[in-house]
């Protein structure tokens, strides 16, 4: 399969670009919800519009009423989200939770997917347990109790947890903290007794929670996939989240880069446009190259994932790490090249820097994934 978009994908990209550029624009969404101190950190109206365009069900199978598309298509939407810093629960709900629910029973899918398709529901994923992404170690416990399970533990960095109707929780039903086996995924409704969430606003104005699970009692039918066999579903969900976050990072990088090159062509100092200075030109050209490579790695990973390739896992980590590196460079160069104005809240470039920082941590940063590339390569 060639590494560029098909005609259908290019049409989707046009739609997403236009929609996000207008409805999802920084002034209309990110700044608006931030400045009104919105407790969700995003707008439900926009989420309904996502649903009307079919975006919320992009990875949901056609049998369940979704579009049944793949990670390439989800990535197209995410790149535009990244470019416009559009706050939305798309990545956690429509990419990650939807991927997990793809392995769930018909009952569970029937319970949760319709709300996603209409844009009435929001989902979150509760995997991390500390400040760094370490899904290999899961301490949260689920013990058998009566007909179901009792969950105890704590989760961190649960994006949109406070707005979510359901949280996909990874818990341990067997084995030791570091064991690969013995993981079970649960669909946990927001209002279940014993679930408490501390909301916290993050540097990029998004909302996350610290989750506590204190004897949360669930029926057996809340299990996604197999009891003790959840690692495989978890990995699928993580891969979806990682390649999705990579695509969003590429969008953040591209948005910051475009803003910066535009500025280089407008700002005058020493009687010249600053874009005439070779020191800035070379850095901009290097950055261009890094962003292009990150985009290529991301499309490759999306295609491999959609095709079920054995190399997908490696390439997903390559994409997340590379996109993270490129976006980090793009926002740092962006702020520096804007000079003083880049430090002001009024100017958008700083918002890109904040979004990049949050996105870098989400689903593993460049160090985590470079380490993973090394391990998967046998060293």
């Amino acid at each position: 399969m060639p590494l560029y978009h098909t005609e259908d994908q290019a049409m989707l990209a046009d739609t997403a670009r236009q929609f996000m550029g207008e409805e999802g624009a920084i002034a209309k969404q990110l700044r608006h919800w931030r400045d009104t101190n919105c407790k969700d950190g995003f707008g439900h109206g926009l989420w309904k519009q996502f649903a009307e365009l079919g975006f919320t069900g992009i990875l949901v199978g056609e049998a369940d009423g979704g579009l049944g598309m793949g990670h390439v298509e989800a990535g197209i939407v995410l790149e535009e989200i990244g470019r416009n810093l559009t706050p939305s629960p798309f990545l956690t709900s429509s990419v990650m939770a939807a991927t997990a629910l793809g392995s769930a029973s018909a009952d569970l899918r029937g319970r949760w997917l319709p709300g996603l398709l209409t844009g009435d529901s929001v989902f979150a994923v509760a995997v991390d347990e500390g400040p760094k992404h370490r899904p290999e170690r899961i301490k949260t416990r689920a013990e058998r109790a009566g007909n179901g399970f009792k969950l105890n533990g704590a989760k961190a960095f649960v994006l949109h947890g406070g707005s979510a109707d359901m949280l996909v929780v990874a818990a341990r039903t067997a084995g030791l903290d570091d064991d690969d086996a013995g993981i079970t995924l649960f669909a946990v409704p927001k209002d279940v007794a014993g679930l408490s969430q501390d909301k916290v606003r993050l540097v990029d104005s998004s909302m996350a929670t610290h989750v506590k699970l204190d004897n949360v009692t669930l029926d057996a039918d809340a299990v996604i996939g197999e009891v003790d066999g959840g690692r495989e579903v978890l990995n699928r969900m993580l891969q979806a989240g990682r390649v999705g976050a990579a695509a969003e990072s590429v969008g953040v990088a591209a948005g910051a880069f475009d803003m910066t090159t535009t500025y280089l062509k407008q700002r005058k100092q020493f009687g010249r446009l600053i874009g005439e200075f070779q020191s800035l030109q070379h850095r901009a050209a290097h950055l261009y190259s890094e962003v292009e490579i990150a985009r290529a790695a991301t499309i490759k990973a999306q295609q491999l994932l959609d095709g079920g390739s054995v190399r997908a896992d490696l390439m997903v980590s390559v994409a997340k790490a590379k996109a993270g590196k490129a976006a980090s460079l793009a926002v740092k160069e962006g702020v520096q090249m804007h000079g003083g104005i880049g430090m002001t809240d009024e100017y958008d470039i700083g918002l890109y820097m904040k979004r990049d920082r949050a996105l870098a941590e989400f689903m593993g940063d460049q160090y985590y994934h470079a380490d993973r590339v090394a391990r998967l390569s046998g060293y």
Binding site: G275, A285, Y288, S289, I293, A296, A297, I299, Q366, A370
Partner: protein, 386 residues
């Protein structure tokens, strides 16, 4: 079965039948590559057979038209060809500046007679070409070149000197940038082809820090070049050169390279990797290298359908050569003192150290990294005054 599947089956069967087992081993030494030409000495019978069999089918240049010695494959078929070659680790039947550089320029700018004549020779590996671009005073600022062709009616008389002419001492013919109008900088250069055995042509190898001499100085002393040996219009050689440089940059970038799947960390790990900071650098490198291999694939896919930015080869050249230099820095560090050996048998005659030194030229030849960044700034980013 789709047409493409049928095509793949056909290619797979042909390769199974015709690619000698020796040609499915990775190339280890410089003379493992087959360069063809009048004076080429085949390393073994398998190398000769492999060239002849491929040439007979047009497979040395699978996507060139059949009339010019190719196999007439479309983009999808050519990709299948590369994948099937890669599947059995087959070596390229022919390494050739004619294929990589002159060929694409002739396909675009050559006359019908030139295409039939020269492209056929290239495809069959009969003539080995070298490139006469740089001069002692014209490196990055190539357009300042001074080698002059004086108009003598039905021919030019060429005088001057080229430098960094790769394998000029082994080449049969040269494609050469020659000034044909001293009053016009850009519009005063012509793209000429001539035989290296023409009286007045001489070459002198340049000893490099790697200890080898892939480059030469090339001297022209009243060299007679017939008028029909020009490619493109008179004084329009710069357009041909720019077009061709794109292909050269693509080649040096390694975009067409077929094996980047073995991560460098995995290679070094066989000898034991104990330093965590080195491991970290290797992991970062492997992320960049694997990402760049996806970029290479994307670039080739896009170029086949005209989706790539025309100046994108400059980006590929920049990123690919900088990456390759990093690769060899890490290989040297990973190898420790063993990689310092210059003449031992264990080190295969200092292969790693020599290659490490050779890679330093990657970001100089064919346009320096700094020139690449200038070109990206101007042609892709449209920055002012660039």
């Amino acid at each position: 079965m789709s047409d493409l599947d049928a095509f793949r089956a056909e290619i797979r069967a042909w390769l199974e039948e015709n690619c000698p087992p020796e040609m499915r081993e990775p190339a280890r030494e410089e003379d493992d590559a087959c360069w063809g030409g009048r004076n080429f000495k085949f390393k073994n019978e398998a190398q000769k057979q492999w060239l002849e069999r491929c040439a007979a089918k047009g497979y040395t240049v699978p996507d060139w038209p059949k009339a010019y010695g190719g196999a007439g494959m479309n983009a999808a078929q050519a990709k299948v060809w590369r994948e099937e070659m890669h599947r059995i680790n087959a070596r390229a039947p022919l390494s050739s500046f004619g294929i990589w550089m002159l060929g694409p320029a002739l396909l675009k700018f050559g006359t019908e007679e030139q295409k039939v004549h020269y492209l056929g020779q290239i495809a069959r590996g009969e003539i080995r070409w070298c490139q006469g671009y740089s001069e002692p005073g014209s490196g990055s600022d190539l357009v300042s070149l001074q080698t002059f062709g004086e108009d003598k009616g039905d021919h030019w008389v060429v005088n001057g000197q080229k430098i960094w002419t790769s394998y000029a001492n082994k080449a049969d013919w040269i494609f050469c940038l020659v000034r044909t109008d001293k009053g016009n900088k850009y519009q005063g250069i012509s793209f000429l082809l001539f035989d290296m055995t023409t009286p007045g042509v001489s070459t002198k190898p340049i000893l490099l820090i790697s200890g080898s001499s892939p480059f030469c100085e090339t001297f022209f002393d009243n060299v007679v070049v017939p008028k029909d040996q020009i490619v493109g219009e008179l004084n329009c050689g710069w357009d041909v050169a720019k077009y061709l440089l794109g292909h050269e940059r693509e080649m040096i970038s390694g975009a067409g390279g077929n094996d980047r799947l073995n991560t460098i960390g995995a290679v070094l790990n066989r000898a034991g990797l104990e330093d965590p900071l080195l491991r970290a650098d290797l992991a970062q490198f492997d992320v960049d290298a694997l990402a760049f291999s996806a970029m290479g694939e994307k670039f080739l896919d896009e170029i086949k359908v005209g989706k790539a930015h025309p100046a994108q080869p400059n980006m590929m050249k920049y990123a690919g050569t900088e990456l390759n230099k990093r690769r060899y820095e890490l290989l040297m560090a990973g190898g420790g003192s063993a990689s310092l050996e210059w003449e031992s048998e264990a080190s295969d005659g200092g292969a790693r150290a020599r290659t490490w030194l050779r890679t330093k030229a990657n970001s100089i030849e064919g346009g320096t990294s700094e020139v690449m960044l200038n070109v990206i700034s101007k042609r892709i980013l449209d920055l002012p005054g660039a």
